[in-house]
């Protein structure tokens, strides 16, 4: 007895396995990844063992390694950031604030930004981290 795989009849049947694999990959990336707006500058978040969860609806303040600031993906200077956050905190439902800062940024600079947010009316905030993989 000889079991020989049937020869593909034409080009289209030859690429059917390829299409199957590509569809699988497509569905994997659609389901497993999370679509998110990219940051205006590169941020390497600090690694931490913390387990706190993050709700994506919260206001996001970004702080780059070189001290650049952004609010929800829009680059701002300190005064503009303070005004924008204060306007949001004065609204009917004050948003909670997440701070995404680079792990290589000066800690004193991060604290300065936190103080700035405090003067804008933010009482509690969340510092974003990623789990330590090592």
């Amino acid at each position: 007895m000889r079991f020989q795989p049937p020869r593909p009849k034409n080009d289209e049947e030859r690429i059917l396995p390829l299409i199957n694999v590509v569809f699988l990959l497509l569905i994997f990336f659609m389901l497993a990844g999370r679509l998110a707006a990219s940051d205006p500058f590169r941020i390497e978040p600090p690694r931490s063992t913390s387990e706190g969860l993050v709700e994506p609806q919260e206001t996001l303040v970004l702080l780059g390694a070189d001290g650049r600031l952004a609010l929800d993906g829009e680059m701002l200077d300190e005064a503009a950031l303070k005004a924008a956050v204060a306007a949001r905190m004065a609204s009917e439902a004050p948003p909670r604030v997440r701070l995404k800062a680079d792990g290589h940024a000066e800690a004193t600079r991060v604290v300065a930004v936190m103080e700035l947010l405090r003067t804008a009316g933010v009482e509690r905030l969340k510092l974003l981290t990623v789990p330590d993989i090592r």
Binding site: F29, M30, S50, V111
Partner: protein
């Protein structure tokens, strides 16, 4: 191959219904699927975000907020608690003792210039693991 087997393909060819060309060619479909695949590969992020809840520090640190709080100073060359150099293990042991008596003990972490956020976060991690709930970052009011 044996002779009676060699007859089979011809017969099956004869029995097969005439092959129709598919109405829609597969090639455009593959193009679109590839484009979608590349879009989702590039646009989706797999980072697993976590967070540390902190109290935002008040600018005027001289006041009731500092009263009775542990002030941990974070220098490039080590940790200091009330002017005394400590290792991280000594610090957590001492704060753990204090938390046993006062569970809501407030702890302030004050990084000085030259300390990266990553180091401060490592110290915060250890403090949270010790059980500190009222945690805040602060800095020198002079600077």
């Amino acid at each position: 191959m044996s002779p009676h087997v060699s007859v089979l393909p011809r017969r099956s060819l004869a029995n097969r219904p005439p092959r129709r060309r598919p109405l829609i060619s597969l090639t455009p479909l593959i193009d679109v699927v590839f484009i979608l695949l590349i879009f989702f590969m590039l646009a989706s992020s797999f980072l697993d975000w976590r967070s540390i809840a902190l109290n935002a520090p008040a600018r005027a640190t001289a006041g009731s907020s500092v009263e009775g709080a542990f002030l941990v100073e974070l220098r490039p060359d080590g940790l200091r608690l009330a002017g005394e150099s400590l290792s991280l293990d000594q610090l957590t042991a001492r704060i753990g003792e204090r938390l046993a008596q006062r569970p809501e003990q407030r702890v302030l972490v004050k990084p000085t210039a030259g300390v990266a956020l990553q180091e401060a976060v490592s110290v915060l991690d250890r403090l949270i693991a010790t059980g500190v709930t009222d945690l805040s970052l602060t800095r020198d009011p002079a600077r």
